[in-house]
Symmetry: C2
Subunit: 343 residues, 2 copies
């Protein structure tokens, strides 16, 4: 008995010691899902130099602003942007209230499951779909619709809720920056009201730190209650040259760090770098067809319409000293839901 | 010698003790410039109930959003809004580059010092003045122009820099709310870029917590540098029904507390109250002609065009349970620069 008891005690002590060592190791490495390659080293070196008092590159806490694109930078944007999946599901859900859609494009094709024909109308068709599904309700009602949809909708490849198809290395990066006095903002071409309902839980980014595209809203009394009604009219497109405009409008400071993954983020990174002094610009390259998707067309990867990382942008990263993350080489883990043999 | 020395020691000890007592008294009263009348009691009672864990009215820290109008709520807006003084001074400063203004209204009258004729053109004239003085430069250049102007310009009545004509009781209130986990936002009809350069120093409100009216900006490369250029085109008017829209756009949450002083703040207070649960709405009534200005027309005070606290709004405060602060009765001190007999 005594021997067994002693053995058990030793086993418990060993497990405890192992758990403790693991905790220490994790505490020492704020970015465990990143491989020890150049991008991780560059991030850590930058954060250390701008947070070290007395350093020539020291940045005071209030000025530590980091901006993140969302689609393709914080969460998966393939095979098409999540907000488009949402819009299509809404068209189906609303079809009963719109019998005229049966014969009206782009809705007729959509309802037949023919996405290609539906979107053949280009920007105009897309706008019709967005307005039909994103306007007409109050902001509170829309928030609830988004939340309800996320509970049931699943990513077609990963079979997980969309708001769990977020990149684990970026979640760690957000936490690491926050722990170092940074205020993280989303600056996305996606809808601001589409991201706010879940961004806090997924990223630790509160509604007031989300910048995005928007439609107009109107204050009115509905049943004696003051509400904001969403109107079928574009207010602001927070993409490309719109991103620096959105940053200035919402934040009023140039970011110190900026993160993106496509041509839509080029001007945000340029604007960040243009602030002078210590600045950090990073782009995620999706070159991991096995664990996520592979698209460019930079580095000969397949071309995509939305979220393209062009060869010209890739050349600019070299010229301007921007960091490029290879999802395949630089990320140990992509999603939190992945199973790991080493863990 | 020894007696003198002892006396000195006692004197030093007494002064020290007094200073200590004063410190304690101030620490105990976070709102020393407020009289112990109903508004102060209502503010403190509200903050205590929403910050007390387990209270049915408890509000979690991230949801503690307080919004403040600026003109007439945080700083003096009479005899006319500060931004108008700024615009007029800019017209004079820019006149040499615009010889055509000598014969072109509203500039011709302005340059002759005839403000009444200049503004007789109403909104259109005002817009011309604003665009001529607020657009055409980069955002960074405009920020510097505002900062430079504040160094030399003085309020005509108080002979102090405009950014020191801020209400001491409101400065204390901002600090008190901040100490209780609130995030304070300015939500003003004034220009967002006109307030940001000095709001942090004056109020402890950083640029990203300033919401205001704006003109459009455009991202472009100037001399190879990425900048935002201010365009002579209205982007957003953050006044009246625009305030809830601006709040939703920037903050994405309903405020828990809202502070204003005029008809321009009515919808912001309604929107705040409409959130349900514990909410606090307050309006400042300027009834102190001796220490500041007296204007309404509520309670028979003189009517003003900008910043009017109408009788209808005053009736609404009673119906909706909003707190009204009488500057004369409820504020012990109005400005920080005042001399006090009791201190």
């Amino acid at each position: 008995m005594k021997t067994t008891h002693t053995k058990n005690l030793i086993a418990v002590a060993l497990v405890g010691a192992l758990a403790f060592t693991t905790t220490i190791a994790h505490a020492a490495d704020p970015l465990p899902s990143w491989n020890d390659t150049a991008p991780k080293k560059a991030i850590v070196a930058f954060v250390e130099k701008v947070t070290k008092e007395g350093s020539p590159d020291f940045v005071p806490v209030p000025e530590r602003i980091a901006t993140f694109d969302n689609d393709g930078t914080l969460w998966c944007e393939q095979p098409m942007p999540v907000q488009l999946f949402f819009a299509l599901d809404r068209v189906k859900a609303l079809a009963r209230q719109h019998p005229e859609w049966k014969t009206k494009e782009p809705f007729a094709s959509l309802l037949k499951g023919d996405l290609k024909t539906a979107l053949a109308g280009g920007e105009h068709a897309l706008l019709q779909i967005v307005m039909a599904t994103h306007a007409g309700m109050t902001t509170a009602e829309f928030e609830q619709i988004v939340k309800d949809w996320l509970v049931t909708a699943k990513h077609p490849k990963f079979k997980q809720p969309y708001n769990e198809c977020v990149y684990q290395p970026m979640i760690e990066l957000l936490a690491y920056l926050r722990a170092n006095g940074f205020k993280n903002f989303i600056v996305s071409g996606g809808g601001i009201e589409f991201m706010r309902p879940w961004a806090d839980k997924a990223y630790g980014i509160p509604p007031e730190q989300v910048v995005g595209s928007s439609i107009k809203t109107k204050f009115e009394m509905r049943d004696g209650k003051p509400v904001l009604v969403r109107l079928p009219e574009i207010n602001f497109i927070d993409d490309k040259a719109g991103k620096p405009v959105g940053i200035n409008q919402h934040i009023g400071r140039r970011p110190v760090m900026a993160f993106g993954n496509s041509d839509g983020d080029k001007q945000m990174l340029e604007y960040t770098q243009g602030g002078g002094g210590a600045r950090f610009m990073l782009l995620v390259l999706h070159d991991d067809a096995a664990r996520e998707y592979a698209y460019g067309p930079a580095k000969g990867l397949p071309d995509v319409k939305l979220g393209a990382f062009t060869s010209a942008l890739y050349e600019q990263t070299k010229k301007d000293g921007w960091t490029v993350v290879s999802m395949k080489d630089d990320w140990k883990q992509v999603f939190a839901f992945e199973q790991h043999s080493e863990q």
